[in-house]
């Protein structure tokens, strides 16, 4: 009897421990640990989703209701959404963001996949040095390149003024998305078995043919991952976006939203900002949910190595 009472807490703790790895060990957890688990799940969901829910809630309120703490809009209205789509600054900014983020992503994927293939497959000197250069570029603070780029872009590079142009944003965005792309693709290329390529090489294909016709199709998931992450990072960029543009017709959404407040310091157009943020975030969230496994694989590329 006495041994039982002593043993009980130990089995309970042991079961709690088992429940931590139930996904793999297949044991049934006790009721208490299941409750704890679901409390944790609930808290995590509230922590992650409530602020975004609050933004949707705000975007559906108008007038005096905006300053109330109602958890649901009592008079839901889509006025904020119709007003942002009537605002040409916002729709222009959406187009600018799509062009700038899309353009820089495409360039990064193209030249980044070349570099990643070389780094993953070919033997050459200075490989470590090149990887170190690429990776150290990701640590560059944007502020350190913003000021010089502002001067270079306004005075002209090889006679071309890049200030307040699409290309003027696409190029500096590459400083952070190109290294990211190279890093992710290098680890993806390393996962692809060499046999297929080597068979093609034996059959007389050039290295480039092997790359284009065998490696690229096999690395398609990696390209999707790298492309999505690069696009999201470019879409979110803020410092360079506000420094290197001057007019509403070349300002990406991140900068445009910040300037919604610029004119009226004391009255934030809350409803429209919320509607704008929801509008530009929902497509990203849909993409992220569809491709969640790929994105996690990309984010963690290299993180569990070594």
């Amino acid at each position: 009897m006495s041994t039982q009472t002593v043993a009980q807490p130990r089995t309970w703790r042991a079961r709690l421990g088992a429940s931590e790895r139930v996904g793999t060990s297949g044991q049934r957890p006790s009721a208490a640990s299941r409750i704890l688990l679901w409390i944790g799940v609930f808290l995590t969901i509230v922590f992650c989703l409530f602020p975004f829910y609050w933004m949707i809630n705000t975007s559906l309120k108008t007038g005096g209701e905006l300053s109330t703490g109602h958890l649901f809009p009592h008079h839901p209205s889509l006025d904020n959404y119709t007003s942002i789509f009537k605002n040409s600054d916002f729709t222009t900014a959406l187009r600018t963001s799509a062009i700038v983020a899309g353009g820089s992503t495409l360039i990064a994927l193209t030249i980044g996949s070349f570099a990643a293939y070389a780094l993953a497959r070919l033997r050459f000197k200075f490989k470590f040095l090149i990887l170190a250069i690429v990776l150290s570029t990701t640590t560059f603070p944007p502020i350190a390149i913003a000021a010089p780029l502002f001067k270079i872009w306004t005075s002209g590079l090889f006679g071309i003024r890049l200030y307040n142009t699409y290309l003027g944003l696409i190029l500096p965005f590459l400083t952070f998305i190109l290294p990211l792309t190279i890093y992710i693709l290098t680890s993806f290329f390393q996962e692809i078995p060499k046999d297929l390529e080597e068979a093609a090489l034996v059959d007389g294909a050039t290295r480039f043919q092997a790359f284009r016709k065998i490696v690229i199709p096999l690395a398609a998931p990696g390209l999707v991952t790298a492309g999505l992450l690069a696009f999201i990072f470019a879409w979110n960029e803020f410092l360079l976006s506000i420094t290197l543009t001057s007019s509403a017709n070349r300002r990406p959404v991140s900068a445009a939203i910040a300037f919604f407040t610029g004119s009226q310091q004391f009255q934030i157009p809350l409803g429209t900002i919320a509607a704008a943020t929801v509008t530009i975030t929902v497509p990203l969230i849909v993409l992220v949910i569809i491709f969640q496994k790929r994105i996690v694989a990309g984010l963690t590329a290299g993180a569990v190595k070594g």
């Binding site: 709690l16 421990g17 931590e20 139930v22 996904g23 793999t24 944790g40 969901i45 992650c48 989703l49 975004f52 609050w54 705000t58 703490g69 030249i111 070349f114 570099a115 070389a118 497959r121 070919l122 050459f124 090149i130 990887l131 170190a132 560059f140 603070p141 502020i143 350190a144 000021a147 010089p148 780029l149 001067k151 590459l174 400083t175 680890s187 059959d203 007389g204 294909a205 050039t206 043919q209 016709k213 199709p217 979110n236 959404v253 991140s254 939203i257 407040t261 900002i273 919320a274 943020t277 969230i285 992220v288 949910i289 969640q292 996690v296 963690t300 290299g302 569990v304 190595k305 070594g306």
Partner: protein, 311 residues
């Protein structure tokens, strides 16, 4: 694939040896290196050049060499050291909280058998939301009069229902840290979850047979085996936190003790049009971030070397 192989096979065999591997590598790597040189290396060098000059405010374009004067002025000013302190306090607290909360979420996702894929999608939401948009949202939630945070505190009769969150030192920093933790703890959780998933189960089974408690197993198995993943996550987050700009820019414009290094340099450059001193601050920010990343790379340099040699 069969069509591809057919065209591939049709090529003469000699083509393979025509371009040596090294030359091909040079061709493949050079576009990326040229871009990096053009938009990262050259601007950094130009920033250093700018920081060694004094620019006339009256006559645009007029400048003179002043050597390290701008740097001397920066490191003898209290504003610079205050922004260094603010940046490091922000980084230390937010990254620590993100690690703790991220680890808790990762353990939860690892344990939540049925809910795992739902949870993984849920934690990706804060990461995907536009940073500037969330900063605007926190600004309104922490508004002193009409903000949701104070309304909740008042409704629950808790103290602090009239706090001017963004209008006082300390509180403004707390809001900034909270906003950053919300956005990036989930990111941390995903990195750590990937690390957890590669720990083999039999290690735990063996420890359990030997009578190790949950806590003992966590401290002596999970943490040591998770070390590489934790280090990588810490590097990513620390470097991001040291460069933080958008949160203080939107939340407070740098008032009430939230002027981080990047924001301070930005203000000097744009609002005060002090190109020389502002560039010196930008270069100092660069040096600090590089120094910290160098320290980290010394710690986990094996990871990069492994990637380079794993061919």
């Amino acid at each position: 694939m069969s069509a591809a192989q057919a065209t591939v096979a049709a090529r003469p065999r000699r083509r393979r040896s025509e371009i040596s591997e090294r030359r091909l590598a040079a061709y493949l790597v050079s576009p990326s290196l040229i871009v990096i040189a053009l938009v990262a290396a050259y601007p950094i060098c130009y920033a250093i050049w700018l920081s060694l000059h004094q620019y006339s405010l009256i006559h645009p374009g007029l400048s003179r060499w002043v050597g390290l004067d701008n740097f001397r002025d920066a490191i003898t000013s209290s504003a610079f050291w205050s922004s260094v302190k603010i940046t490091f306090i922000f980084t230390a607290i937010s990254v620590t909280l993100e690690l703790v909360i991220g680890l808790a979420m990762a353990l939860l996702m690892h344990a939540a058998f049925r809910g795992r894929s739902v949870l993984r999608a849920v934690v990706l939401v804060p990461w995907a939301v536009l940073t500037v948009g969330t900063a605007m949202m926190w600004k309104t939630i922490f508004d002193a009069d009409l903000g949701f945070a104070n309304q909740v505190l008042q409704a629950l009769h808790l103290p602090g229902g009239h706090t001017v969150w963004l209008g006082q030192n300390g509180y403004a920093m707390a809001v900034m840290i909270f906003a950053d933790v919300w956005k990036t703890a989930p990111f941390m959780a995903l990195l750590l979850l990937a690390g957890l998933q590669v720990i083999p189960d039999d290690v735990y089974e063996a420890a359990k047979v030997d009578g190790a408690t949950v806590w003992q197993r966590f401290v002596s198995i999970t943490l040591p085996l998770l070390r590489p993943a934790i280090l990588v996550a810490l590097i990513f987050r620390t470097l991001d936190a040291l460069r933080i700009f958008d949160l203080p820019f939107v939340l407070t414009q740098g008032s009430n003790g939230t002027t981080t290094l990047s924001l301070y340099a930005y203000q000097q450059l744009t609002q005060n049009r002090l190109i020389g001193p502002g560039s010196a601050l930008a270069v100092l920010t660069f040096i600090i971030v590089m120094a910290v990343s160098f320290l980290y790379i010394r710690l986990v340099g094996g990871n990069i070397r492994a990637l380079a040699e794993d061919t």
